[in-house]
Amino acid sequence: MNANSNIRSGNPLTSLRRAVGGFSDGVRDWWAAAPRWTRWTVYGLLIALVIVAPHPAIGSFMSPYSHWPSLLFSPIGTFVLLAVGLNVVVGQAGLLDLGFVAFYAIGAYTMAVFATKFGWNFWGILVIAIFMTAVSGIVLGSPTLRLRGDYLAIVTLGFGEIVRITAQNTDYIGGARGITNIPHPPTIFGVDFALDPLPYYYLLVAAIVLVVIFAKRLERSRVGRAWEAIREDEDAAELMGVPTFRFKLLAFFVGAMIGGLTGAIWASKVIAIQHNNFPFILSATILAAVVLGGSGNLPGVIIGAFLIAWLPERFRGFQDYRILIFGGALVLMMALRPEGLLPARRRRAVSGNGGESGDTEPGATEAGGQAAEEVAK
């Protein structure tokens, strides 16, 4: 092992890998050791940053090619919220979902249908949309969650396509033309929702903050520990008395709700939606955001989503080549740092001890076993 890594250190790929890893692990460890007041200061700074973010001075640097506040709403804001939702499924419970865009689509279509056909109020539909996607999460999950790993991935991919093609073929929801003239949300607290993206941005930020707090609380609860146990070793978790199927279904339920919420907010801003707003590549992109940032670790996931939404827009100068570069960057990133920029702490601890590679298995099982024990108590 040692001899091996000595030989490898000459490889430029390996040294780059170490450099990237060293920096972000440094950040990770500093944060883990930081006292409470430091953390609250950082939270405060982050909130302040998010609030002033749409300012043109920041925008001129961040996005010289397109309208910065619009960009902040979508794709940046929507990607972050979707990634936080998908992180519950992929990062926390370890269920590989390649059809997450289906929930986003169901949320958006619910908003569009109820608003245009029945003239309901935005806030009412938001609740309905979350409810509808949660139900669809159960509907998708209850037959498929008995499957594992790659099978689950491909079934969810199929489900995503089924939802998209069904939307395309159903005349009641506009068929291939989609739904147009979706009304904006009503004025609230004197804030007028119209074409200006700013109010939507702040609405989305509020949603993100609430969802992040919710997800963080879940992660530290009995549910979160159950998910972790399932992620690390499903059989061990089951043996320790964790009802794995119910918890996996719960993960789908929660993830779907967050996806639906994002879709509903997004639909109320964009006026018109269409089936091809929800292609498979969007699911893949969100998954890439989660894995790139560090699956299972919320700050990492948020950074990952931000980067994946923002970088292609920032480098619009490269025109069409940005998607090509995005694809290449994913391959390179996985070769350099497969565990993501800021991996979850427990996961980091597990893979960090053994050095380069290979030793994840026993440690992972141990972590899973511990978590399962805690849940079973």
């Binding site: 790929l13 890998r17 992929v90 590989l96 037959p143 498929t144 008995r146 499957l147 790993g149 790659d150 099978y151 991935a153 491909i154 079934v155 991919l157 199929g158 489900f159 396509e161 089924i162 093609i165 069904t166 395309q168 073929n169 498979f280 590549i281 893949a284 998954l287 890439a288 894995v291 790139l292 699956s295 069409d320 080549y321 998607i323 090509l324 995005f326 694809g327 290449g328 960057a329 994913l330 391959v331 990133m333 996985m334 070769a335 497969p338 565990e339 380069e356 590679s357 290979g358 994840t360």
Partner: protein, 322 residues
């Protein structure tokens, strides 16, 4: 409804078998790679696409404008097949080297491999849409539009059974798929490297200890799986006469469905699953309309996984002996 079905069942059976044979050939690549590495080679759909465009490139440079007959047809089809197999197989080996091997060396998880594959898939699609189709195929700023393929052979009815015409192109497709399947089966069960592939899919560590060169096995697996996708690509180009930069995506997902349907890791399962999927989606289209074809295919996938998750013939390459 029933009348419709009786009237259309013959033609859609023929069409279903033809597209099913193409699914089956692509499914082989998924199934072999999955058997050896336990990994969904997500970029396999782009391997297919590369083979199709390689064949088209040769067709255009041979200056085939009118359909061919006789010896010329056989010669050109064989040449195209070799080109497509070489292009797809070569691309698959490069893909493995660039996108998978670095991850394998660092012991990264399967999620990372999947993301890497998705990245490679996006990269290759965009490469064709932005560079290769506009430049090499001389279609500036039309990279995302369908590229027509010249007709290679005149379509003639060979046999008519009831109201069903069986055409020569259908026979070529199904015949080619079956022949490739038999050759592959012989390769995996009778040759030394084939034995290495079976051993690796059973137990990689023991195989290494027994002196199997794992990297060579993996390279061969990717090459052979890619070459099968190349054959499928030629047949697809010949039958549907239109290519796009993302032609592989839907076919890839369906081929994977076919692989799962037959039992992933199982070579004969891939053939059976491909044909079954082609038939089911074509028969289903009679009842529900062809716009629901893809939904039918995915629903079948979900149902199979629910009731028989190991597929029709059961999992694993190691038992696929001849």
């Amino acid at each position: 409804m029933l009348n419709d079905f009786i009237n259309q069942v013959g033609p859609s059976t023929v069409g279903g078998l033809a597209s099913g044979a193409i699914y089956a050939l692509i499914a082989l690549g998924y199934t072999m790679v999955y058997g050896v590495l336990r990994l969904i080679n997500f970029a396999h759909s782009e391997i297919f696409m590369i083979g199709a465009f390689a064949a088209l490139f040769v067709v255009l440079h041979l200056g085939v404008t009118t359909p061919l007959t006789g010896v010329a047809l056989v010669g050109v089809l064989l040449l195209l097949m070799l080109v497509a197999m070489a292009a797809s197989g070569g691309a698959a080996v490069v893909l493995e080297r660039v996108a998978y091997r670095p991850l394998r060396r660092h012991g990264a998880g399967r999620l990372a491999a999947l993301i890497s594959a998705i990245g490679a898939s996006i990269f290759l699609q965009e490469l064709f849409a932005l560079v290769i189709i506009p430049e090499v195929f001389d279609r500036p700023s039309q990279g995302r539009i369908q590229v027509p393929v010249p007709r290679l052979l005149d379509r003639e009815t060979v046999v008519t059974i009831g109201n069903t015409d069986i055409r020569n192109d259908h026979l070529i497709i199904v015949g080619a798929a079956v022949i490739m399947m038999i050759l592959l089966d012989v390769f995996v069960s009778r040759t030394r490297i084939g034995r290495g592939i079976r051993a690796t899919s059973q137990d990689p560590e023991t195989a290494t200890l027994m002196g199997v060169d794992i990297n060579k096995v993996i390279r061969t697996t990717f090459f052979v799986g890619g070459a099968m996708a190349g054959v499928a690509a030629l047949l697809y180009a010949m039958e549907f006469e239109n290519l796009r930069y993302n032609v592989g995506f839907l076919l890839g997902v369906k081929a994977f469905t076919a692989a799962v349907l037959g039992g992933i890791g199982n070579l004969r399962g891939a053939l059976l699953g491909g044909l079954a999927l082609g038939l089911i989606e074509n028969w289903g289209s009679i009842f529900f309309g062809s716009e629901w074809k893809d939904v039918i295919a995915f629903t079948v996938l979900v149902l199979v996984l629910l009731f028989r998750p190991t597929g029709i013939l059961g999992e694993s390459l190691q038992r696929a002996r001849a």
